[in-house]
Symmetry: C2
Subunit: 202 residues, 2 copies
Amino acid sequence: MKLLYSPLSPFVRKVMIVAKELGLDGRIETVPAATNPSVPNPEIAKHNPLMKIPALVTDEGIDLVESKVIVQYLDSLGGNKLIPAAGKARWKALRMEAIADGLADAGILVRYELAMRPAALQWKEWISGQLAKVGNALDQLEREASDLEGPLNVGHVAVVCACNWLEFRNVLPDARKTRPKLFAWVDRMNKERPSFGSTMPK
Amino acid sequence: MKLLYSPLSPFVRKVMIVAKELGLDGRIETVPAATNPSVPNPEIAKHNPLMKIPALVTDEGIDLVESKVIVQYLDSLGGNKLIPAAGKARWKALRMEAIADGLADAGILVRYELAMRPAALQWKEWISGQLAKVGNALDQLEREASDLEGPLNVGHVAVVCACNWLEFRNVLPDARKTRPKLFAWVDRMNKERPSFGSTMPK
């Protein structure tokens, strides 16, 4: 398999951690791919018309796009260990993944606004609206900290990737101050699991 | 079940069509919910910290977020008719859904830029970058028009919702001009299937 890759994308990192946890990383060739939302990249477009990463080219030649789809695919290859097959456990894991991915998406929009858009064109209300989503999602995860325990699932992976990316880019200063349980758990996961520690953005 | 709802969201429409095709719409109470990315809505936040729709409150009280997760949940309740369980058919359907959803996401960012952001703060390169994603995705779906035939799946539903929304908001003028197979199929689906025709944005 080939994975269009950047070490700094939280969604690529989610895919890499899932691959490592399932023992599939040796079957994946990573292909560096730089994305920029205002500069189309025709190399990425060959595999993903949305020109986003991650994109995974399977051994059968299917170009999979969107990290949620890619991790479902890898989980099916790797013995269905990270996404519960049915019932409340499945929906809670997929829900947690969606909240964490949405948190990262909102954070990325803030970063695009502040780091890429010309300063004269920045819109304060947009930034504060997206940061409200980020803050709400972190608060929700803090309230549901007991769900962070138990067998590792794809929701846990997504939460670590979103929280570490947020701090790496300093999108929301003091993010961890009011969410002590969440970030203590994130730190512990990075220490305890090589799949997490070895993929930390830096 | 309760669905946070707007008749104009392509992602809410996807959920509604899936519910109707599965015979589950009678079990869903729709709750009108207005989203605005720069004005937080605390009512939506009670069920989705990202303050986006759709969000589905299940009968067990789980707040599901993100349309991909919600349609997987509904499909599991309704006999697994719209998402193939495994193999190439599954990944092609989920891939098509992801491309269509990404197309709608990019189109929505263009609409936010043009219809909500103050004119003096609009950034041409952002708009052209997002429109390149929209155009690429439409071109890809046109090239793969043969995959639009066959038993209805969630990818087909997402494509109709994305294409109709795009035309409803006139995000990309002449979108259908160079994609005749795609849009002829979209028009046919809306005529043939009441689940599509009755949910057309207007």
